[in-house]
Symmetry: C2
Subunit: 108 residues, 2 copies
DNA sequence: TTCACCTGTAATAAAGTTATTACAGGTAAG
DNA sequence: CTTACCTGTAATAACTTTATTACAGGTGAA
């Protein structure tokens, strides 16, 4: 994990709004409209936040049909745990530096 | 720790630039101008980043006089370690909710 | 005095994030 | 057909963060 990736990961949860969203779908998955009502947020805005959370791997969404045939998009939180300290950050910076110093033909 | 405080803390390190700054002053303290040269950043910009890091408790700065009498401002990284997971985030959101639901006369 | 360092901040520009509004389109029930 | 739900996106406004430029002022050495 390089500095940019770690930054993307941390930025995704470093938002009170996204923390609230996440905490709502820890125990039970919810569909977008219902989730929007619970966190009192417009759907377009919620989509933006969910997209960031999904890209960083904190949530996953999947379509589901209700018994009566309505299509819902359900989201649920994915479990994770990570320890952050100076060593973690330094390692990420080192990974970035190594990448940028690398010769053109060197592989990932 | 409520959601806003956790957000401030995470946001402070969720930046590749600030990770680079931090990793430079882990082993040895450096004065502002020298640090600016190492991370290739203008001093005013570096000050802005250092202020954020200091407010979040990741670095500390102190003035020091060189043997020949020049005043330098040295910064060094403060050690820390924190585990981030769904429980941490949910607890922060709960702390915020508790605060907002509280009666006017309730204490901190 | 001039040069080469250093600290510190104010004003502003540039870029990125967050939030809103307004759409288009779907299903099922009354 | 209208009402009441749902998904999804495009355009844009409002705001925050990041970065630059331009100052003012200090010390010590040549």
């Amino acid at each position: 994990m390089n500095a940019e990736q770690l930054s993307t990961w941390l930025s995704a949860i470093a938002s009170p709004q996204r923390m609230r969203i996440l905490s709502q779908i820890v125990s039970e998955p919810l569909h977008v409209s219902e989730l929007a009502r619970r966190v009192q947020m417009s759907r377009p805005l919620l989509y933006m936040h969910l997209t960031k959370l999904e890209e960083a791997g904190f949530v996953a969404g999947h379509h589901e049909l209700t018994p009566d045939g309505k299509a819902l998009k359900l989201f649920h939180a994915l479990p994770f745990s990570s320890t952050i300290d100076l060593a973690t950050l330094s390692a990420a910076v080192a990974a970035t530096d190594a990448h940028n110093t690398r010769q053109p033909d060197e592989s990932e």
